[in-house]
Symmetry: C2
Subunit: 231 residues, 2 copies
């Protein structure tokens, strides 16, 4: 029986707690990050806390194996004196939306192969996709994730603003959004690129710019230029 | 029996030809856009040609009802002397990827309600989602589509470049891309926004910028600023 302790009370902590609770071969417990006077012993201690808190909190924990769940913090940001690792589920977690862990990639790192195997076993109890990713790679991956998630969502926001301004239901775009994200699974994004920018269709580009406000125009222009420079 | 003539030989033309051919209550024929000497008569003539060719080609057609399939051309760009309309399937069409028309929104426009009803009936033979969208709205919709499709795909391209440079398989990001596009169906994009920009996490933003090249930095900065201005 492996014991897991989750430290933290945010979205990642609560989703991990829920999914681990369903596994018969695990015992899981959870504590808030401000209550470190009586930390329960556990084989694996998972810090699901903000990046800034990783050093301070890990320094107060003497459990044998402490890992964080951050995409951008390094393994060496952990300040516990025992074994260290990273258990990073690459997904966007919302409080009120269930997560299918079987589809989530786990990016794992540890200082030795035994610890890495321990984390691999743990990840495989709840997921199918396990990657061994070092700290430098994970940082790069986190930037890439910002582009495909945060920035992409912001483009959706701009599209939604354009729709709202013109009394168009945003749901008309749902199918196109879905197809765009499905396409990238079967075709590299460089090959999937279409539209006025890559066609150098200056007339359409000019017409589009006329329909946008100053800030939207700025983003339209820079992305159009970037697509054209790439092709 | 309704007869449909498709003029054009590109992606939209061939996908429409395929899907209409499966409908028992339709007869469908197709001609290239450079062979307009002997245009077959049809109830509905669909010009699936480039925007620039719509005026010239429609001027040479005397069939009773001529529609184009463009997101950015106006209904009045049609130069036929008979009835005019727009039959715009809002989707990205690739030559080698099958399209599920049942999920595609059809944006329809016509000069009178009888013609609009004819187009609605035609769209409902192959799809479920039919919207009546005027020319001004359709232009705005086309800009919005560029944001959620062309520009989003370019962000995927940048993420893929970052992954490649750091020897990370791009497929790690597939689940996140899928979740990002699924989320927008249940949560307005303004509410779904997460990440360092909206958190004003300047430390992470600085770290991210250090990992990017000049052009990627420019895009990262402008999108971060835009997210922060929005919130």
């Amino acid at each position: 029986m492996i014991s897991v302790l989750i430290v933290g009370a945010g979205n990642v902590a609560s989703h991990l707690l829920r999914v681990f609770s369903d596994i018969d071969t695990l015992t899981v417990s959870q504590i808030g990050s401000r209550n470190l006077t009586n930390v329960p012993l556990a084989n694996i201690t998972i810090l699901a806390v903000s990046d800034d808190a990783i050093a301070t909190i890990s320094a107060q924990i003497s459990n044998p194996f402490v890992v964080h769940t951050s995409g951008s913090a390094a393994l060496t940001d952990l300040q516990n004196k025992t074994q260290k690792g990273v258990f990073y589920p690459l997904q966007t977690f919302s409080k009120h939306k269930e997560i299918d862990f079987s589809q989530i990639p786990f990016c794992l790192e540890a200082t030795n192969t035994t610890d890495l195997q321990t984390l691999t076993n743990l990840a495989k109890l709840i997921g199918n996709k396990v990657y061994h990713i070092n700290s430098a790679q994970r940082k790069a991956l986190h930037v890439a994730a910002v582009f495909v998630n945060n920035f992409t969502n912001h483009l959706f926001k701009i599209a939604s603003d354009v729709c709202e301004k013109n009394q168009i239901p945003f749901e008309i775009l749902h199918a196109l959004i879905e197809e765009t994200s499905n396409k990238v699974k079967v075709l590299p994004p460089a090959k999937a690129q279409t539209g006025p920018a890559i066609r150098n269709d200056e007339k359409t580009i000019k017409n589009h710019l006329n329909l946008l406000d100053k800030k939207q125009q700025e983003i339209y222009k820079i992305l159009t230029k970037s697509i054209q420079n790439d092709s």
